[in-house]
Symmetry: C3
Subunit: 668 residues, 3 copies
Amino acid sequence: MWAYFPGLRWSPGRGEFCFDWLAEIIDRLYENGIYTVLATPSGARPAWLDEKYPEAMRVNRMGMREHHGGRHNHCMSSPIYREKVAVMDRKLAERFGSHPGVIMYHISNEFSGECFCDHCIRRFRNYLAEKYDHDIEKLNKAWWTTFWSHRYNSFEQIEPPFVHGETSVMGLNLEWKRFTTWNTNDFLKAEADVLHSVTPHIPVTANLMRMFGGLDYRKMAPNMDVVSWDNYPVFHNDWETLAETAYETAFQHALMRSLKRDIPFVMMESAPGLVNWQKVNKVKRPGIHRLACLQAVACGSDSVQYFQWRKGRGSYEQFHGAVVDHLGTDDTRIFQEVAEVGELLRKIAPAAGTLVKTRAAMLFDWDNRWAIEDMKALGQNTKRYEQTCIGIWKEFFRLGVDMDIVGSDENLDRYDLVVAPMLYMLQPGTAANLKAFVERGGQLLATYLLGYVDSEQPCYLGGFPGDGLKDLFGIISEEIDTLYPSDRNGILMADEELRGEALAKASEADDLGDGFRAGENREGGCGDKDAAEAASKWEVAEYAEILRVQDAQVLGTYTEDFYQGSAAVTCKSHGKGKAYYVAARTSAASMAPLFQRMLTDAGIPVRKLPEGVECHARSGEEGRYEFYMNWTEAPVSITGVTGKDLITGAEITDTLDLPKYGTAVIHG
Amino acid sequence: MWAYFPGLRWSPGRGEFCFDWLAEIIDRLYENGIYTVLATPSGARPAWLDEKYPEAMRVNRMGMREHHGGRHNHCMSSPIYREKVAVMDRKLAERFGSHPGVIMYHISNEFSGECFCDHCIRRFRNYLAEKYDHDIEKLNKAWWTTFWSHRYNSFEQIEPPFVHGETSVMGLNLEWKRFTTWNTNDFLKAEADVLHSVTPHIPVTANLMRMFGGLDYRKMAPNMDVVSWDNYPVFHNDWETLAETAYETAFQHALMRSLKRDIPFVMMESAPGLVNWQKVNKVKRPGIHRLACLQAVACGSDSVQYFQWRKGRGSYEQFHGAVVDHLGTDDTRIFQEVAEVGELLRKIAPAAGTLVKTRAAMLFDWDNRWAIEDMKALGQNTKRYEQTCIGIWKEFFRLGVDMDIVGSDENLDRYDLVVAPMLYMLQPGTAANLKAFVERGGQLLATYLLGYVDSEQPCYLGGFPGDGLKDLFGIISEEIDTLYPSDRNGILMADEELRGEALAKASEADDLGDGFRAGENREGGCGDKDAAEAASKWEVAEYAEILRVQDAQVLGTYTEDFYQGSAAVTCKSHGKGKAYYVAARTSAASMAPLFQRMLTDAGIPVRKLPEGVECHARSGEEGRYEFYMNWTEAPVSITGVTGKDLITGAEITDTLDLPKYGTAVIHG
Amino acid sequence: MWAYFPGLRWSPGRGEFCFDWLAEIIDRLYENGIYTVLATPSGARPAWLDEKYPEAMRVNRMGMREHHGGRHNHCMSSPIYREKVAVMDRKLAERFGSHPGVIMYHISNEFSGECFCDHCIRRFRNYLAEKYDHDIEKLNKAWWTTFWSHRYNSFEQIEPPFVHGETSVMGLNLEWKRFTTWNTNDFLKAEADVLHSVTPHIPVTANLMRMFGGLDYRKMAPNMDVVSWDNYPVFHNDWETLAETAYETAFQHALMRSLKRDIPFVMMESAPGLVNWQKVNKVKRPGIHRLACLQAVACGSDSVQYFQWRKGRGSYEQFHGAVVDHLGTDDTRIFQEVAEVGELLRKIAPAAGTLVKTRAAMLFDWDNRWAIEDMKALGQNTKRYEQTCIGIWKEFFRLGVDMDIVGSDENLDRYDLVVAPMLYMLQPGTAANLKAFVERGGQLLATYLLGYVDSEQPCYLGGFPGDGLKDLFGIISEEIDTLYPSDRNGILMADEELRGEALAKASEADDLGDGFRAGENREGGCGDKDAAEAASKWEVAEYAEILRVQDAQVLGTYTEDFYQGSAAVTCKSHGKGKAYYVAARTSAASMAPLFQRMLTDAGIPVRKLPEGVECHARSGEEGRYEFYMNWTEAPVSITGVTGKDLITGAEITDTLDLPKYGTAVIHG
């Protein structure tokens, strides 16, 4: 077991360092077999520091210096703050780095936010000058500033996107986000360097926050020895089933796992009981805690940790779940469930160090996410890039495939199937990457919005998708139609096998949010015959591209509107490799038959478990561990399971029976 | 009759005082038998004053000095503004204090708002230093600042909760609210002192605004000789019946009345006709004005006053209802209705000076309200403390009980029944108060959220409710479950008599807002049998505590979810005294049978009038006056009424007949 | 054909002017028979200019100087910016003014916005001093500042309505809007003067934006030689039929046309394909582009122009529709449709220079709009002045009448029928204008809210409508009732002919938005008989005035509530002239029978075309051109058409057949 100290106290005043209280805790923990992950306190500042160095507080998007308060409002550029943090980190490492109980450093806390102070503006200008070879005309061209007379004559004229300043240049907006990642990363690296310089043997991490929109985590991972994250699902909510919540959490674990694919990650925080800051802070039902903890391990975490051990008596998180409640006894429901999880972890300890391995990957780029959010087109409230990715990922998961989530320019050699939803922006190298993948026999699927802009956001000329991808897919997208919420189109697949029972399934496993829900209501009054016909179509909402087909095979066509009969789903073969294109937004459930065919062609086994039953496999030198979790309230039987259940000790020969909320870890 | 001058004009420039216009008006009024309540002009400043003393304008929560404009934006701390107001008040008192027509002073206008200027910051720091004995560690402990490294080293480091500053320390937020009351009160007192020093014989008041959230009126009442308030109900709205509007207004009157329980209050403002600033400014239907005026007197007001006598030709309230319209004649509907009320008041004049007396009280603390609003837990949109109080108050009112509304640390000697809804924060003395009340035979009811934190907001350790209350009630609350809007639970009362027809009643008399309305829709499709079963349960929404019962009797248990069968309603007897606890949010209508039992045990008579018929009683040396108002469009007959109707002069021997919107004042 | 250059590039730095690139384009266009409308670049500034002259950037309503960025954020008052713009304009005129291809100047771009800088404040004070004869007491009286002690002692004390300043004085708010128009107009005039001084023969225009709320276009039109506007309807939306969208666009064209009634206007911008900045950027269906272009000409435009010729590769409008797409070929659907329109325009060229002439007008004042928006009364979300005007205009259009839209103080000599909806504020001269119109035999209709305030916003005394209009109409409005969304009343017309099938029609052609839609739902459950009865009433929502009838004839009475049976529709005759008054908000469709009677009395022919078929007529020396457009998907036949169809060349003798989305231009 580990203890982790977030929000470490600073010294009470300048020049004083009192670590004795901390030393005593670490000692006592160690004496009781508990290791410590030691956090640096840069994410929380005492009042004296803000009073002495007001320049370390951020300037907000309105140009106003913030006051002391809150938490993560320190400027990442501030020289004085960096200096003070380095002193503190060095002292901590010197005092505790040789303690046998201290096994990892945890840098700062949940990095986030941005700053518009003069230091940051200066660093931003330097960052841009470096990027554009100190040639302002290169920047003007990339940002297309001639439009609306927005040209700059020098880097000194550039300001970040103040709310009452320049917010209409997409190039500026995107570079500001990239800079914010770059600057935060630089801050992280500075802390890591100090710690490593004193105690090179102790690994460092920083706690991430799921699919966070403010920072490109993929750029930050190289500066950590281990990836860790804070996992707070919204269980028992009113917009999805418990299984959907679990599957989405599995996606988040997969995202974290994929940041460092060859070593396990760490679940740094999770809540015993409830959390206190969600919109509705519902109590976790008995058994859910155990499922959630096992899920983290199943997805590749080598640890289960809690925020927090004991509820504080006051301040912001006094009501956040904890192992020990204000009541103070060990006979509470929460304490008992936590103790159970401790037992469980002891039993499955052999799985530690093993890895989740997969032959399928989804491409997801933070750059692309930011570009789509800021693109001036389509529907303002229906971009839904992240939800679309999650929906497709979950559909593959339902087919038994635990996809990695990787950058579009990352090496794809270990994969046989790749999905690239809504890949609007192409990085340098992305097109070549995809081409090489298909040419060596890979199964590739891309969707509408593919390859409109390059990494600086000017559009490709001569037909989308650009950078040569129109030849890889054999199509050109001529127009993209954006539908109103009540609008619908459909896709009829030529091959009956690919039609499936799309709509029926879509009702249960809604992937795309309101758009499709609205659709279901609309169809509510259909007779049975209409419903059957409708069920043979893939329902289209929100986006539909109108294609020119060059040399692709047309697999499906639109069923409505002025582009009725034109191509909606295509495939171009390159030897064994295939490049599929789905030109419209349809539910992931609709596309499942196509996914299944791709998996078959890729030689990846399909395995459908009952809805709500989750399975992950980790493997290592000692063999393979299959983790089963039943997120439903009904007992289930799963066949095709062989091996020893580490939890019960039972040998399973074919059928695994799981009760409501039941779990098993099969070692075979 | 009285005339009242709000927004009194200041002099046209510095150093000039021209009161002649005012003297003429006061004289003419007096000559016609009309007395004057003279307002001080501190709530409205002319441009020259702001130009000369910009420091008297407030600094807002963003740290920006406001410009001249609006109304109540003067800094309460500003020495120069206090000085100028004192000069003005003294001049007014000297000029008019001996006028026989001037019978009361009305200080400023509808106090509200806060200021973040340097003066206020300094005063806030001094206020805190006084409160915490000049010991910053006492403050750190109370505010639990060690969490997130938020410790202060000195009072000089503390700033108010700027929007871009410290908003996450609940101790700071609460003290800022307390300080704002303290500072406003200090301003009020300064004005009162000047007036009293010149003319000690003239009482002062300040016009309050119903259950206003910005100031703790209970702390301000001691600085007024008389309590007064401005009453603007939203009649004929689309979210409740007219009767509900009337009952809620009765609650507001009760709140005001309870601020000074031994003298009548004054309804300082009310609208003839419509108001102009509500979201929908609907015309008051004929007869409503008469009902509303009589209601004020029935609830303890010794006066009915209007804003405004004549509609101004321009500016903000040019369309606010007035006795005299722009049309300028006395044959308008509104003028006629006002004249009728004048007649009515003349007839019921003997009731003046009498008091509403009651043996039941509800505890309501502003501190508790602020703490609940700011607590980081539960559901963000479903706290509803005020609505919950109002709902319970109205349900008792339907049982014929006109409860006082008092502070949790006020003397409870005059009561036999006390209700304490959601009393999350305990004041020093509250627990002892409740204990003494029960021990002398009182009937006490508390609900979920009781006693989580002390008056500085740290949680009690060792089990909620804290400060000894777990022994008074015989229970500990181990967890609190927050439900989504579509979630429901139920409570089955063991004793059939306490089940009632809860649901059916809840449909009509909805107490808790959207939560319960959603529930009704959800049940819409139930068959009759289901409905009957459902009706025997108390429906639970939004909050449900899970209890450990120590030595209380379990009266009702949960019907659903993992805590099904566990205690939801309990009672612990202490001799004749009883301490009831309702652990979940259920409609006040559901709890009515329990309320009725408590009343019976307390020896307080239950009297159910037809829905929409309101009755209050005032009593004094000359006997008892019963006020009856029929807020429905149907005629009603009420039995058990004996005495002379002051309005019609008729002697009522048992049955009082009231037409649509009819009224009666029975002197018996 | 014309080319138009919006957002013209400034020179790359101070003191440099490089026009050669532009000269080359203008030359090449001219050589290919294409004329140029040359835009001045004042609406888009390069970074060097903002860096050098930060005082030219606006100060926003919070008092913060904006940063460089966006587009139209230059201060209209800035002396230095005016100076620089004058230099640029002069250079442009000198260089290109004598080019035979340059036929018009287009000043700046889509004027809008306001500035709170010191220059603007000073100019505002001067503007006010001029307006009020340098007598602050005149201003105090007009603004009614004595209320709430808001008096000013000098013009120097006045500030514009900062968000944290004075926002409660309606006089100030209105004058600030008037000043913003005045100041923008002054800026426009300054640019026009420079251009005219160099090349007096070239006309100037400025591109307007439909019924824009920020500027009083009627005051700006005199400073343009030609009116032009940018037309971007939201086709295929989900809140109305395509026909409704078309009719509303016709209204906007009529508004623009009426700004200069004796010369054609110019449609400066429209989108080939889609736009990129609407909430849902749906593709225009095939054929719609042709309809929309022809509609502009039908309504009085002498030109069809596009934004934009070619999609830029980057920045804000990279996805805005263009003739040439990123694909770069001329075989796209959009290019083909644009080419077709070119053919069409060539065929109907003879109609150029002719005018739309009409004998009916609607009064619409920007002042009145602003006053209604800011009035402190009624329902906060249901003012709907513009929608009400548009609804009534469309209903007349359905009766075959293409009304002008003119100011309430404009000369009405050319009209026989005038409608004045919600004319809350009367300009000096309005009452006399209306009186003269009726007295010479005109048919006049006004509605609720008529004549409450004068042009400075003090209410009229002695009965609404003021300024003598109560005698013109023979009524006084004593009260105005504001209804909740679920409230309804009705009007029963005494004359059966005027009852119509109001409700049924209202369902199809909804004029008033949510209010009436809610009503339809509410009536959903009515039986047939009830429906028939309901259909004979005009349904009333949101507003209902209670009238005193002096000497008018009562045509219709209220059917519900306490004012049931009282007058709701009246008429007072003055010889042949009639003054109708509709006291409540009812759908325009309900009022159609009344409109029809008025048209008949005015001698204006009524002609009802099938729903979705639009007809406009232009006439000139060469005769009359009737433009027919079928906005429906079904073919239609129209009778009574005679003449030659300029598009097909066919002679139509009585019946014109139009296919789906078909068009015809009949010269007879």
